[in-house]
């Protein structure tokens, strides 16, 4: 279930659009429509009337699962580039190899 509000009577459809071939779909906004055909008609107008989208995905809001909480117990630095500081070791290695300053 999405954390976003559900309107009283008419479903909300989230619209994702693809700007050009090879690009990923990006969230563009939402439309309110009673069914998929109306959602498509209005999404075509709103996100395609100037030929600016190559493709659209329409997803009912309540089909979306929101994930917003993350386990905090471990320091995950070793999985990221900023978790490594090689400067000091690189300097020492170059000095040992006699290649410091030739670089």
């Amino acid at each position: 279930m999405s954390a976003l509000p559900a309107p009283e009577r008419t479903p909300v459809w989230e619209v994702f659009r693809k700007e050009k071939r090879g690009a990923a779909f990006e969230h563009a906004g939402s439309v309110v429509a009673p069914d998929a055909d109306f959602a498509e008609a209005w999404a075509r107008e709103q996100y395609g009337r100037r030929g600016e989208s190559v493709a659209l995905w329409l997803v009912p809001r309540d089909a979306i699962r929101d994930v917003e909480d993350w386990a905090d117990e471990f320091d995950l630095k070793y999985r990221r580039v900023d978790g490594y500081s090689i400067k000091a070791r690189l300097k020492e290695a170059r000095e040992r190899a006699g290649t410091a300053g030739t670089g």
Binding site: F38, Q46, R49, W70
Partner: protein, 302 residues
């Protein structure tokens, strides 16, 4: 890394937004923030919807087919913007039907410029060029709104408005390079629209007294927006040989524009529903809402 937690305390929330914090729909927000947000965004939606009426009057009277198509496209864009904006208001808790009911009942406001008549094709050019320019200055500042869903739709709106301004400027250029009568139409329209344009950004309330700025809903003060408008557009107006109808208008050495004090009483009078065309245009909206009820009923029964 833990997700950013929105502090559930008004003072802490204030600090959060003032240091650039973004707020999403499902986040906790102070009641005052939500109320002010709804009122501000709703007024924007109303303005887009009402703003098409002065221009719509000219679709059948446009001088060329290309202008007719461009004007129709502009009107379609503006209604599309209204729909994007009401969608944001809906997710904040106020149904669109309520917004439209409040609009036609005169309980909600829309921008001053859309309460005035369009007398000639010169007005159509001046509106698309200068009114849209004044609006885009405010809209660019809204790209930094603390409420992220609104900031996001502003990106699409700003992108689409850029064609509107170019269309407006093209209309004006065609007239100022045409006959002397056409040039006069533009100057005369400018004379009538300058007052409302100078009022458009609102009276110069200092930023630290403006709750919209404190909540970072607006990221720019009213006077700052007006100065930006003058900086950008007075040179563009003058280079065409047009005269800005304000003898006091001048740019000081420190870069600040001086001008005749706008009529703030007129602004208040107009936005509280007493503009020359307010009643007529709200009646138009009311009539169509009633007439088209059957469409909404049919669609929602689908």
């Amino acid at each position: 890394m833990a997700a950013v937690e929105i502090p559930r305390d008004e003072q802490a929330f204030l600090k959060y937004v003032q240091s650039g914090g973004q707020v999403e729909t499902a986040d906790w927000m102070p009641d005052d923030y939500r109320r002010k947000l709804i009122k501000f965004i709703e007024m924007h939606g109303n303005s887009e919807l009402m703003g098409v009426l002065p221009e719509r009057e000219w679709i059948l009277r446009a001088p060329t087919l290309q202008r007719k198509l461009a004007l129709t496209a502009k009107v379609q864009d503006e209604v599309g913007h209204a729909q994007l904006i009401y969608r944001v208001v809906e997710d904040l808790g106020k149904p669109r039907e309520q917004c439209l009911a409040d609009l036609v009942d005169g309980k909600a406001k829309f921008h001053n410029v859309f309460h005035y008549p369009t007398e000639t094709w010169g007005d159509v050019g001046v509106i698309a060029w200068l009114v849209d320019a004044a609006a885009i200055i405010s809209q660019k500042a809204l790209l930094k709104c603390s409420y992220a869903p609104y900031a996001r739709i502003m990106k699409k709106i700003c992108w689409e408005e850029s064609f509107h301004i170019l269309h407006g400027r093209d209309v004006i250029l065609a007239m100022v390079t045409g006959t002397p009568e056409q040039f006069e139409l533009v100057q005369e329209a400018l004379n009538r629209w300058w007052g409302p344009l100078m009022q458009f950004h609102g009276n110069p309330i200092p930023s630290d007294e403006d709750p919209m700025f404190l909540w970072r809903i607006k990221s720019q003060g009213n006077e700052e927006a007006r100065q930006q408008f003058l900086d950008g557009y007075v040179p563009q107006i003058r280079e065409l040989g047009l005269t800005v109808p304000d003898p006091k208008l001048r740019k000081r050495d420190d870069g600040v524009w001086e001008y005749t004090e706008p009529d703030w009483d007129e602004l208040k009078h107009v936005v509280t529903g007493h503009g020359p065309k307010t009643e007529e245009r709200l009646a138009f909206r009311r009539r169509f809402l009633d007439q088209e009820q059957w469409v909404r009923d049919a669609v929602l029964a689908a």
